[in-house]
């Protein structure tokens, strides 16, 4: 067995440096994940309080946001995908693609339009010939508020154009430390749009003072709820992206370590075999002479 020791050594060096990189990426992802989870938790306080407020109203949303009524002739579905800009996160983006594919299978590809946040998925969908209306990078913390406001405005405009019968958000949420597979979460139409909701809050409905008037407060609350759902999708997809990357990089690091160990074993065996052979040659030579 003539094994090139140089080549092995080179390979080992390559594997070792790859391992260093994957390990670093894993640690960075871990830090980012922690921060993203914190943000997700903090934003939940607002979200729950807003939800509690909406529950205190009996009047149906239809009465305060009539412009958000569904259009009966609409055929298409608008999907907002939340994914990553960078790879190395395992099946994270692929799972989002699958959800879109499933929708296209069910509804017909020509009836699905996409607004992509996170270019990995946006790019893939475009390459596959989907109708991608926009494909943007994930905004960083500074730009996030502005970008999500614009997104909300664009989506509401799209809805009132009457072209879509549904607007869904597709993103991966986080359950503790487990990444949940992405699902299509309905954004519009608002559930129970036309219905009176039953009294749910602990305080009797109708006994509130409202300023300026009950309808204005509910309208403000409903619109904010819609915006907040976009924020929630964004934050959750962020946290789950980092967890996915942590896991992928952790696996890659472990693979690299295993391969390095096995290469090292091979190298040592080969080195020993070479030394043994040299000794044999020397001894044989010595015997031949003497």
């Amino acid at each position: 067995m003539a094994v090139d020791l140089q080549k092995l050594k080179r390979k080992m060096r390559g594997v070792s440096s790859t391992r260093q990189v994957t390990r670093a990426l894993q640690m960075v992802a871990s830090m980012r994940m922690r921060k993203a989870r914190e943000q997700s938790i903090h934003s939940r306080i607002y979200r729950e309080a807003l939800h509690g407020l909406v529950e205190t109203f009996e009047m149906p949303p239809a009465s305060v946001v009539p412009e958000l009524a569904s259009t009966s002739t609409a055929n298409e579905v608008l999907v907002v995908t939340f994914a990553s800009d960078r790879g190395l996160c395992g099946p994270y983006n692929h799972n989002v693609l699958r959800v879109v594919d499933d929708m296209a299978f069910e509804l017909g590809e020509e009836n699905v339009r996409i607004k992509a946040i996170g270019i990995k998925v946006g790019g893939s969908l475009r390459r596959r010939g989907y109708g991608v209306l926009s494909n943007i990078r994930r905004p960083d913390a500074q730009d996030r508020e502005f970008v999500l406001k614009e997104l909300s405005r664009d989506l509401l405009e799209a809805w009132t154009s009457g072209r879509y019968r549904r607007i869904d958000l597709v993103y991966s949420s986080l359950d503790g430390m487990t990444v949940r597979k992405p699902v299509a979460v309905p954004w519009l139409p608002i559930p129970g749009f036309e219905e009176d909701s039953e009294e749910q809050g602990p305080a009797p409905v109708g006994k509130y003072i409202d300023e300026p008037v009950e309808g204005d407060v509910l309208r403000a609350a409903v619109l904010r709820t819609l915006e907040n759902e976009l924020l929630s999708a964004f934050l959750q997809s962020e946290a789950s992206e980092h967890v996915a990357r942590m896991v992928a990089m952790d696996n890659a690091t472990r693979n690299a370590e295993e391969l390095f160990t096995s290469l090292q074993l091979t190298y040592n065996k080969a080195r020993q075999a070479k030394i043994t052979q040299e000794i044999c040659e020397i001894v044989a030579g010595a015997n031949a002479i003497g």
């Binding site: 994957t22 306080i45 003072i209 407060v217 403000a220 693979n255």
Partner: protein
Amino acid sequence: MPVTLKLCTPMRQVAKIEAEYIQIPSSDGMMGVLPNHAPLRCVLQPGFVTCRLADGSEELYTVSTGLATVRDNEVVVLADSAEKGNEIDLERAAAAKERARERLSKMDSSVDMDRAELALQRSLIRLSAADKVQSL
């Protein structure tokens, strides 16, 4: 019997304070809340939220638009944005908005990152291929 102020924005809880008297900028005008106030829901206009504490001191927050509820001696302010103190730095906010617009319209320069990522992806594929060959 104190009134509790919970001031939240979509991204964080800005304050949770027990006070004797809270004032919020309702759309119908500044509204004062003492203990046992009637239940109330209101739309907010930009302005100040102030709390007078038991020791006589005052806490002040600047809020933009939003909503507020008063119930059971709790004032929950859901502000679109809020800051402690009374500094409304409009200039800074406008500058930040401009920067955001600029950044979004510019071509992004993350080519290096993409190249590095591709290189790493390739070596990971090689790794796993090598791994499979080893185990044959």
